[in-house]
């Protein structure tokens, strides 16, 4: 498929050159891109889901490698893989129901299975378990090895006996269902702001003082939603050096008629005692409930904890990442250009490589992200509601299937 590979290269280049930035935009683009990959994928007659999963996985690995810091890419790839698995499962369970009726007459089908044929319900139950993460339930029965192999082979083989018209309709059905579900995912990513903003009135009360840092669209819509519901409150905006996105946010908030105060990042500790709640956005939420967030937020979180101010994080579910952070300060960070901090013209003599021992005297480090440990976060507000940091793994278990985590992890380690 040369055309798909060209598309992949194009998208990878965009990611690599940071033409697409921000987790929502990246998530959306990735989902749309994967949808086009799926729709162009030719599907073999047997093991269609396997072929789809393989191709999505192969593309996904390239995308993740293009920008490993943008965790939303990996999240969406895993979500799409999970969708394919689920759709395949719902189709096979339906098909097995049909198969089982014809099973009695089909003698060689029985011969091939060395064990007595279980009922369709039992098989479906076993298959459903593979989608879930491993648990104590399944510890004693190794389902993935024993039950699933005969399941897929019986599905694939007996299908060969069916009429070809029936078959092609099933293939189209799987692809159609998957694309439908991916469309839903894209819609979810688009509308996550509104769903989060709906909950704003429950959290923001009259005459409260809210502190935020930098600019996050989710936070902006959250605050505006509360304003629209006739809540009057005051917002402190820390400017979010070095990109000063807080200035932009302050402008937007004032345009919507909110009382806004701009403070420097270093003034957070001075102001925190007057604040009732800290509401911030995030870059990604890790599986342990920790947070990858714009730089400076760890300081805000520590200040909030010191003064027992609730630290609330608003984030769409596409930011939920099933990985555990290990050494996040280094591995999940990105160093941006020093031009954000310093003017090259003024500092050019300090940055001169020619002077002294060939190394500039002045170094500039401009990290993009902070890691906020889970114990500093009071509440996560996602499109499905408010959750405790320790509950994040549960959401992750719902959105992703366990097989994909491990595979991605291996590929990530290889890169």
């Amino acid at each position: 498929m040369p055309d798909v590979q060209a598309l992949v290269n194009d998208f990878v280049n965009k990611l690599r050159k940071r033409k697409i930035e921000g987790s929502q935009a990246t998530a959306r683009h990735t989902a749309e891109f994967l949808r086009s990959v799926i729709s162009q994928q030719r599907i073999p007659y047997t093991n269609q889901a396997g072929a789809l999963i393989d191709s999505v996985k192969a593309v996904g690995e390239q995308l993740i490698a293009a920008n490993p810091v943008e965790l939303a890419v990996g999240n969406v790839v895993r979500r799409v893989l999970h969708i394919i698995r689920e759709e395949d499962l719902s189709l096979t369970t339906a098909a097995i129901g049909d198969l089982n009726i014809s099973d009695g007459s089909d003698d060689d089908e029985n011969d091939r299975d060395d064990r007595p044929v279980l009922s369709a319900a039992a098989l479906a139950a076993a298959a459903r378990k593979t989608l879930r993460p491993p648990s104590l339930h399944t510890l004693l029965e190794d389902v993935p090895n024993a039950t699933i192999v005969p399941l897929s082979s019986s599905g694939g083989d007996s299908e060969g006996k069916c009429k070809s018209a029936d078959k092609s309709s099933r293939i189209r059905k799987l692809k159609h269902d998957v694309i439908e579900a991916v469309n839903e995912l894209i819609q979810d990513i688009d509308t996550c702001h509104e769903q989060i903003a709906e909950q704003a009135v429950e959290h923001i009360h009259q005459n409260e003082v809210i502190l935020t840092l930098g600019r996050s669209r989710t936070v902006m819509e959250f605050l505006c939603a509360a304003k629209e519901k006739k809540r009057s409150f005051r917002v402190f905006v820390a400017e979010g050096a070095p990109r000063y996105q807080g200035h932009v946010l302050a402008k937007e908030l004032v345009a919507r008629g909110l009382q806004t105060t701009v403070i420097t990042d270093s003034a957070v500790f001075a102001m925190i005692s007057r604040v009732n709640m800290v509401i911030v956005g995030a870059h990604a939420i890790m599986a342990n409930g920790g947070l990858i967030a714009p730089v400076g937020l760890n300081m805000v979180a520590l200040a909030a904890q010191r003064h027992a101010v609730p630290f609330v994080v608003v984030a769409g579910s596409h930011k939920l990442c099933p990985l555990y952070p290990h050494n996040p300060e280094v591995l999940l960070n990105e160093l941006k250009s020093p031009s954000d901090l310093l003017d090259f013209g003024e500092f050019s003599d300090c940055l001169d490589f020619g002077s002294g021992n060939g190394e500039p005297q002045l170094h500039v480090v401009n990290p993009t992200f902070d890691y906020v440990p889970p114990n500093l976060v009071s509440l996560f507000i996602t499109d499905t509601g408010g959750h405790n940091p320790s509950y994040m793994y549960r959401l992750i278990a719902d959105y992703y299937s366990a097989d994909d985590l491990v595979l991605q992890r291996k590929s990530a380690a290889g890169n």
Binding site: P116, A122, P133, P134, S135, L139, H326, Y393
Partner: protein
């Protein structure tokens, strides 16, 4: 101002007097009329040596570098136990009364003697032998028999957490597995037996999974503090060494079992730089440490762990210096316990050799393990994946609801 009451001293004195009186009574009794032969079930159900927990004996035999003095003691204890069991067996054969509870314990003991076998595996194999020898013809009968066997196994050694957890897990499997409902009795029975036989494999696989999962967390140039001798932790570090990671290991000495000596020995075999610390040097060296790695005897419902004595204080020190504490434990060690504090569980007693005679009036703390609450643990590496402590209770609730 409230002062602590001196009741503990008075209580002790009372108890001593009571014991003394009892001994005297017994002696008088012995003179007057010889003691009746103890009934069969009592002997075998009770631990042969109540002062040393059976759980601890196996552990010591498997892992510990044992002092010669203690070896003699242990041998005396074991030989006493064995002869007791032998006689029981003979009497049993004579009377042709086959008590399920007793045979399962023997089976369990023979399995647990194998040094590379986890206690849970021994328990499940013992239960499998019950299924094999059972003459039950329905699932219900088999279940009842198994329940009896597992109860007697549990009560025989209440101190072993993974034994209890494994028995519970297997019973749950027998009663709850949906696949069993669709089969006839004989195939269900053989399926159960097959699963039980394979459990050793599962346990081995679990260790492999755990060591794979934890590789990401061991970075080049890190220093790892290890407490106790855990097979899983050893496997984790072995894999890391095989993956050419360069790291350094600190081992606590692990008095009085000297588990650290054996662990450091294993590390030296792998060419990993290793340093031995005395147990009291943990806080002193903690600033050099990047992470703490411990195993677990049992993971309890709160997400905390029960592990070798000293784990709690190491976790406290690590927590106060902001170092992550990682626990490597197989998921069959998840137990339905909820200890509220250190004394809220059956203590596993062990002998402690101080090298010099200790006056009889001096009390000795003999418990072999302590409870580390979940807030001091960072992550648990299990074969179910990397978990935060709060996930453990969720898993257990899902299984036993």
């Amino acid at each position: 101002m409230w002062y602590r009451s001196p009741s503990f001293i008075l209580d002790n004195q009372e108890q001593e007097k009571f014991l003394l009186r009892q001994q005297l009574d017994q002696q008088n009794d012995d003179v007057l009329n010889p003691p009746p032969p103890p009934s069969m079930s009592e002997i075998s159900i009770q631990n042969p040596n109540p002062n040393i927990s059976a759980y601890y004996q196996t552990r010591a035999a498997h892992h510990a570098v044992v002092t010669s003095d203690w070896l003699a003691q242990a041998q005396a204890a074991v030989s006493g136990g064995v002869t007791g069991e032998d006689t029981v067996e003979k009497v049993e054969e004579d009377d042709r009364v086959v008590e399920k509870g007793e045979s399962v314990i023997e089976e369990f003991n023979s399995w647990r003697k194998q040094p590379d076998l986890a206690e849970a595996v021994a328990a499940i194999r013992a239960l499998a032998s019950v299924i094999r020898s059972s003459k039950a013809t329905t699932m219900m009968e088999l279940e009842i028999e198994l329940k009896k066997a597992s109860d007697s196994l549990k009560s025989w050694d209440a101190t072993s957490i993974s034994l209890t957890a494994a028995c519970d897990l297997f019973m749950r499997y027998v009663t709850r597995t949906s696949a069993l409902e669709y089969e006839d009795f004989n195939s269900a029975r053989s399926r159960l037996m097959e699963r039980a036989e394979k459990f050793g494999e599962i346990s081995y696989k679990a260790r492999r999974i755990i060591s794979m999962l934890s590789q990401d967390f061991i970075f080049d140039g890190c220093t790892i503090l290890v407490h106790g001798f855990s097979r899983v932790v050893l496997e984790v570090l072995k894999t890391a060494a095989q993956n050419k990671k360069s790291f350094r290991v600190f081992c606590t000495e692990g008095r009085p079992d000297r588990t650290g000596l054996r662990f450091s020995n294993e590390m030296a075999k792998l060419d990993v730089p290793v340093k031995l610390l005395i147990d009291s040097a943990v806080a002193y060296s903690m600033d050099e440490v990047d992470m703490v790695f411990v195993g677990a005897d049992g993971v309890v419902e709160s997400g905390g762990i029960i592990n070798m004595m000293g784990t709690y204080q190491i976790a406290l020190v690590a927590h106060s210096l902001n170092k992550p504490v990682y626990v490597a434990a197989e998921s069959y060690k998840f137990a339905r316990l909820y200890p509220l504090d250190q004394k809220d569980m059956a203590p596993a007693l062990r002998p402690i050799d101080f090298g010099v005679p200790v006056p009889s009036k001096v009390e000795i703390e003999k418990s072999a393990r302590d409870y580390t609450p979940p807030q001091y643990l960072t992550l648990l590496f299990t074969d179910l994946g990397v978990l935060t402590p709060s996930v453990v209770s969720d898993e257990l609730i899902q299984l036993y609801l």
